[in-house]
Amino acid sequence: MLADELRLASFAVLAALALVALPLFLHLPGWVPLVFALLLAWRATLVWQRQPLPRRLWLMLGLLLPIAALWLNLRTLVGREGGVAFLLLLVGGKALETASLRDWRVLLALGFFLAATPLLFDQSPLSAIWLLLSLFALTWAMVLLSGEDARLSPAVTARALLLSFPLMVVLFVVMPRLPGPLWSMPTEQQGATTGLADSMSPGAIGKMIPSREPVFTAEFRGSQPRVSQLYWRVMVFDQFDGTRWTAANLALPRGVALSGEAQPLRYDVVAEPFQGYLPMLEQGVEAGEGVVLGYQQKLRRVDAANTARLRYSVQSVASSQYRDALDEREQAFYLQLPADNPRTIQAGQALAGRHPLPAARLQALQLWLAEQGLRYTLNPPTLAGNVVDGFLFDSRQGFCEHFSSAFTVLARAAGLPARVVVGFQGGEFNTQGRFWQIRSSDAHAWSEVWVDGSWRRVDATALVAPQRVDAGIDSTLGEVAPRMPLVGGRPPGWAQWVGQQWQLANFSWQRWVVGYDAASQQKLFQQLGLGEVSAANVVKALLGGMALVLLPLAAYVLYGRRVRRSVAQQVWQALGQRLRGAGLAIAPGDTAAELQAHAARLAEDDQQALAALLQQWQRLQYGPQGGDDAAWRHLWRQVRAFRPAKVGRQR
C-alpha cells in the first residue's frame, strides 16, 4: 500500500475510534474519554505532519499518570466502569505506537471491541443507532486499510454491512443464550432508579412530581386482567421507626398457599430489578426461569446481583389475599410500633376494644379511615414529628404513601399484624401490541393485614379515592394525564396513536432485541417447531438458517451482477425474440450465421434489416474499439423497432 493511502486509512481508524468512544462521555468520569480523545488527536497530528512516534518508554510512563488518576477516582480497574475506563486509556496509548499496516489493524480490532463497551451501560434504540454508526465507521476504516479506492470505499462498506446483516440476524436468533452469567460480576453501586426507593417516608416530600416514564411492560397470555386487579407487588416494608418505613429483609422459608383455586394468569414481564426485586402480580403462584418467588411474596432474580433488564414469566392468581401461617415471633414482629403518633395508636386501640373479632376489627378500621374526611392529592403539606397523627388528624391530605402508612400503623395499634407493600398499580393497555405499559407514575403503596391466617390487601387509598384503582392514576389527577407540550390540553387522537406506536416500537425493541434471552429463544424455537434449544437443534437451525440466507447471498454475490452486466447478450436475446415472434424457430444458442439461415424465409426488406442489425452487433461486440453504452442503447432501440412480418401469414 502506498504511504498516502495508509495515511488516509489511519485517519479513518482514528475517527472511527473517536466516534465509538463518544457515548462513554455519558457513563464514565468525563476526563477519561477526554484523555482518550486527546491521545487520538495527538496521533492524528503526528500522521498529518508526518512526524515520528514518541518513544515507547516515555509513552508508557506517561500513561501511568491517567491510570493512577483512574485508580484514585474509581478505586478499581475492573468491573464495568473501571474496566471500560482502563481499556479506553490503553487503547489511546496503543494509538500512539501504531506505525505499520499491521499495527493499524490491531488498533482497528481494538476499536471493534471498544464498540461493545457503551452497550454495557445503555441498550436503548439510540445506542443501537450509535452502534450502527460505529460499525459503519469501523468497517469503512477496514475497507480503506485493505487498500480500496477511497472514492469507492463508502459504497463497498455499505454493501458489506447490508449483505452481512441477514447472516447476523440468523446468528442472533439461533446461537444459544445462557440463562445466567458465566461468572458473577462485582456488584456496582446502583444509580438512582426511577419509581421505587428502598424506604418510604410519608410526609417528607411535599410535592410528588408524577413522571410518565415507562418502567416495565407485561404481556398476558390468554385473558387480559381488569385494571383493578393489577397490583404489581415489588417490595415489602415491615419496619417503622415513627417516620420512615424500611424493609427488614427477613429471609424465612415460606411456600405459597392460596385460598380457593382460581384460574392463574400467565404473563411475561420485561423489567429492571428495583432494589433487587421484580414486579409481579398479586398473588404469585409460580415463577418462571431465572426468577424465584421468596418470603413475603417477593420476586427476585436468581442472580440477585445482576441489575440488568430481564424478561421473565410468572403465573399469578388475581386475589387480594393469600394464606400464610405466622408463628408467635413473626406476629410480634409485624405488630412492632414505636411510641410516636399517640393519637393514631389511641384510635387503633379504641377500635380494637370495640371489635374483638379480627375480621370485624379490620372492617371497622377501614370504615373509620373512610370517615376521617381524608383527601387524595399529590401536593400535600409537608409533615414533621408525628407524621401519621399529622396526616390523619391535621392536614388530612396525602397520597398513597400517607394512606398506606397510616392504615398500617392503625392496624398494628389495633393488634393486627400489618405491613406496607410497595409496587405499581394499574397500567395502560396498548391495543396495537396487546401489552400493558406500566409507568413511573403508576407507583403505588398499600397495606397488608394478617387476619385469620391469611394476608389481606387493604388499599387505603382506594377507600378515599376509589377511581385511583379502578381507572388508574391518570383519571384521578388531571395533571398526570398526558399533555401536549407547550400547548396544553389533551392530545388529539393522532398524537395518541403516534404515542402508542412509539410505545409499541419500544416494547418490541425490549422484547425482541434487548430482552431476547434463553427463555424467549426457547419459546421461539418451539413456535418454529424446532423443539428444545439443544446442541443438535441449534446446529439444525443454524444450518437451515444459514442455507436460507447464504444461498441467495452467494448467488447474488457470485452470479447476480454478472448476468445483469452483459448488454450484448440482452440485445442478442431481444433480437432472437423478435425473430421468434415472426414465426422462426430460433434456438437460444444460435450463431449469427444460423440466424441468417433461418431468416431466409423472411421478406426481402426484413432480411436486409436483420443483416444490418447483425453486422452492427458484431461490430460493437468484437470491433477494435468496442461499443460504449450509448452505442449499445442505440442498437437496442433499433432491435426493439425491428418487427419482421410473420412468415406463416404469407403462406
Binding site: 471491541f113 461493545a116 445482576n306 452467494a554
Partner: protein, 316 residues
C-alpha cells in the same frame, strides 16, 4: 514450524501442474482467514463472552455482525478469483544477470473491477496489483544461462475487507532463453573465405592479427600495453582486414584453451556475436553442435545456440 512450511511448499510445487492456460474454479481457489481476520474472530469471541456474562443483547449483535462480515468476506474474496483466466504471453529472451519479464494475460468474464495481487510462489515481493483485465509484466531475475521456465505463480486477494484471503497457485507453460552474460574478449578473429579456407590477409584492417616490435611514429593506440606490463618492451598490435568479399571472421568453441571454463567461453563467444552483429561484419560461429552465421543485426540464432549449449531438454 519451519519444516512444516517447507514441506507444504514442496507439496504445492509438486501438485501444481504446468498448463498452457487455465481458468480458476472452486477446485483451485483456497480460502483462509488472514492474520487480521483471526484477530477479528478473537474480538468477536471476546465481545460474545462479554455479552453472555452481562446479558447485553446489542453486544451479541456486534459480535455476530463481525462473524457475519467474516462469512461474507469468504464469498467476496472467492469472487475476486473465481472465473479468472490466465495465460502466459511470449516473453523476450534475456542475457544472464538481467531481469526476465514474463507476460501474464489476465481475463475475467464480467466487466467488474477486481482487486488481486500476484507474486512468485517462492518470493515475497508483490509483482503486480491487478484491477482490470490485461497483460501484466512479471519480473524475475535470470542469473544463469539456459532455459528459464515460468515459476509457480501465487495469485491472491483479500478484498474488500482484508479478513479472508483467497489464493490459488498456477504454473503456466511459458519459458524463455537466457543467453550467456557477454564478457569482453580481446581475441582476434580468424578470417575465412566463403568456402571455409584461409585466404590472404591484408594488413591494416580491423582484425587483430598478431604482435610486432613497436616503432616510433606508429600510433600510441597500437601499443599492446599488456605485453609492455609483462615484458617491459613495447610491442605494436598488427591488424588485418578480410581480403575478399566472400570471407568473414569466424570463431570456434575450440579457439579457446582447454582451461577456459565452458561458461566463460560461452560468455566470450556471446560478446563476439554481439560485436559482430552490431558492427555489421558478420561472424561464423562454430560450436560443437553446429555452425551459425551471424549477419548484421540478426544475432538471434547464434545467441539461441549459445543459450542452448549443453542444455539437454532444449526442445522447448
Amino acid at each position: 514450524m519451519w519444516r512444516w512450511r517447507k514441506a507444504l511448499q514442496q507439496w504445492v510445487l509438486r501438485h501444481t501442474p504446468r498448463e498452457a492456460q487455465t481458468r480458476l474454479t472452486q477446485r483451485r481457489i483456497y480460502l483462509l482467514p488472514t492474520r487480521f481476520g483471526s484477530m477479528m474472530l478473537l474480538v468477536a469471541l471476546a465481545v460474545w463472552i462479554g455479552a453472555l456474562n452481562y446479558a447485553v443483547s446489542l453486544a451479541y449483535v456486534l459480535s455476530f455482525w463481525i462473524v457475519a462480515l467474516m462469512l461474507l468476506s469468504v464469498l467476496l474474496a472467492y469472487r475476486q478469483l473465481a472465473g479468472l483466466q490466465l495465460q502466459a504471453r511470449a516473453a523476450a529472451n534475456v542475457f544472464a544477470g538481467d531481469e526476465a519479464r514474463f507476460l501474464l494475460q489476465l481475463q475475467w468474464p464480467d466487466t467488474q473491477p477486481r482487486r488481486l495481487r500476484v507474486r512468485w510462489y517462492e518470493a515475497d515481493t508483490v509483482l503486480a496489483e491487478c484491477t482490470t483485465p490485461g497483460d501484466y509484466a512479471l519480473p524475475l531475475a535470470a542469473p544463469y544461462r539456459g532455459q528459464l521456465a515460468m515459476p509457480v505463480l501465487r495469485l491472491w486477494s483479500e478484498a474488500p475487507l482484508g479478513l479472508v484471503r483467497a489464493f490459488s497457485h498456477v504454473r503456466l507453460q511459458a519459458a524463455l532463453w537466457v543467453y550467456p552474460q557477454p564478457l569482453a574478449d580481446p581475441r582476434e578473429l580468424a578470417w575465412h573465405g566463403g568456402d571455409g579456407e584461409s585466404t590472404a590477409i591484408e594488413a591494416g584492417g580491423d582484425d587483430f592479427a598478431g604482435l610486432a616490435p613497436w616503432q616510433a611514429g606508429q600510433s600510441l593506440r597500437r601499443i599492446a600495453w599488456r605485453v609492455y606490463a609483462r615484458r617491459g618492451s613495447l610491442a605494436a598490435r598488427e591488424f588485418t582486414s578480410p581480403a575478399t568479399a566472400g570471407g568473414q571472421p569466424s570463431l570456434s568453441w575450440d579457439d579457446y584453451a582447454a582451461n577456459v571454463l565452458p561458461e566463460q567461453r560461452l560468455s566470450h563467444l556471446c560478446w563476439h556475436v554481439l560485436q559482430a552483429s552490431r558492427a555489421g561484419t558478420g561472424l561464423l560461429l562454430r560450436l560443437p553442435q553446429g555452425e551459425y552465421c551471424v549477419e548484421a543485426g540478426n544475432s538471434e540464432p547464434a545467441l539461441l545456440a549459445l543459450a542452448r549449449f549443453g542444455v539437454r531438454d532444449a526442445g522447448g
